[in-house]
Amino acid sequence: MTRGAAGPTLVLVLAVGVLVAAGVTLLLERSLTRILLGIILLGNGVNLLILLGGRAGAAPLVGSTSQGEMSDALPQAMVLTAVVITFGLTAFLLAVAYRSWYTSGDDEVQDDLEDRQIVRLAESNEVSTADLGGEGPNGDPEQVDPEPARRRLRRDGETQ
């Protein structure tokens, strides 16, 4: 940001636009590595956007500049926090991508479960919810009227 500029310079605004656009394009990819790159670009674009929200000016140190020329320190503090957070999340996502490649051989994001189930059912020409009720009352011995319990004949020797 240039000192004394009336507002955000056009170059910075364009940079935000380009970063976000490139980030979104990469997010639409299937490979987790490219998605990760997209998130990095998108995150940087958003951070730059926050920086644009504050007033430009000289370093906000009391004594070194007059109050009117100071830049707004708050967006800078927020960007610092946001950068740290984005960095941590990026590292985690990198670990996920690596682990995913390690366990399954690639880092592609698959179709979701529902889609795959529906495709499978459509291929085998089945209805999506088969009746799970299953058996009638006769299939379950405890739902049929029990026969009277059979009495065992007692032998004299056991009744003691």
């Binding site: 997010l27 987790l32 998605i35 998130i39 998108l42 995150g43 958003v46 951070n47 956007l49 926050i50 644009l52 929200g53 504050g54 708050l74 967006p75 927020m78 926090t81 946001a82 957070i85 941590g88 999340l89 985690f92 996502l93 996920v96 991508a97 682990r99 995913s100 366990t103 399954s104 994001v109 698959q110 979701d112 479960l113 529902e114 999506s128 919810t129 799970l132 009720g133 299953g134 058996e135 299939g139 379950d140 405890e142």
Partner: protein
Amino acid sequence: MSALVPLPVVVPLLGAALTLLLSGRPRLQRWVSVLCLSSVLVVAAVLLVQAYRFGPVVVQVGGWPAPVGIVLVADQLAALMVLVSSAVTLCVLLYSIGQGRGETGETAPVSIFHPTYLVLTAGVTNAFLAGDLFNLFVGFEILLAASFVLITLGGTEVRLRTGSTYVVVSILSSLLFLSAVGLVYAATGTLNMAQLAGRLDALPSGVRLTLQLTLLLAFGIKAAVFPLSAWLPDSYPTAPAPVTAVFAGLLTKVGVYAIIRTETLLFPGGQVATLLMVVAGLTMVVGILGAVAQSDLKRLLSFTLVSHIGYMIFGVALSSVAGLSGAIFYVVHHITIQTTLFLVAGLVEERAGSTDLRRIGGLARIAPMLGVLFFVPAMNLAGIPPFSGFLGKLGLLQAGVAAGGTLPAVLVAAGTLTSLLTLYAASRVWNIAFWREPRLATATPPARLPGLMVGATTALVALGVLFTLLAGPLFQVTADAATDLRERTPYVRAVLPRDVP
């Protein structure tokens, strides 16, 4: 008394550090976690009483006065949320301890579970108590970072596949939130919510609407409101049972809380009421139709979770005191019930070896207690009188009827239909999994379930029933909270005593 406000955030964070140090001594680790969450529960109860009797409790972090420094605010809504969430997290923690060996048969680093879980709790409470938009963002990030670790716990292939979707979607919503924060600051020059309330009112309505929609988009993804909800049923069910339970109960509700807060405090006036109502109706109907078609218990419950978010959004969209009060009551009810049902699903998995409805049956005969533990919350969710689910839905539907007009009437009809379809889905699970001929998916079922798991689930079922018994006083609190939210002045005056708009 205001010294208590930061404790629900600080205590779990310190506890997380301590449990990380104690990772070699699991016994001590468990005691520390339980102690932390119990103390948070007590503090939250005191805060709620305080907020109910004397108005919002505010603490200025570091002693910096309000617009400059960061504030933590425990008004009635925030305190109630912290109370319910800490009760639920404590029960889930006990459940996970009861599950003992953590993930049986897997090489999961269980020592990491407790610190991460406590960090998650700290993030949730921080989001509830934040009086500052950026602090709210930080709260979201804390809970998200912890949830990323929990959802990929163990690093198996399936969990990574579903977890990566969750991670990417969450990061995207965070970035949207972050850009919204940046835009709000650029437009108003502040992020303190109390100060924003005044300054946003002064903005041109076009700018105001843009900011509102950006925030809504970010929170809508987190709360899993219909067009943005597709990530949820895929990512939640594969995580370990206690993790799924606490995610289902709390994480989406943090999004709903953020929507309630922004729609009442920052953007009152119902500029987007129509949009919210349409979205709420679609969330309800589409979600429950998804649930009806499922053949796995956990996936089915995930879809009911999405569906019932619609009720809360409906209440927010009405933006009357009755609607908001109903929405808050419903959030409280739903946090408890949804968590309970996922815990029961975990018990079913433990007992029968699977939650796939095609492979299990006759559980009511094999494990009658499990049947009771499922039946009560399932009927509660479906809204059978006299349970709290019925009372919450009744409150919302009454508010909808009182609002009048075509769209609320359509929403009332959709809500009734959703309730009936939930009953259908719940009784379908009951018929298939608990009646029928006994059938287990495992050859070696455990003789009995761990006592602590059953105990923790029973405690949550009892809590759900307690909401039914205490519905009168609870509705009083939520109505009071809703009145405060509508008026805005109690919140603003508590944070900025000098300049009330």
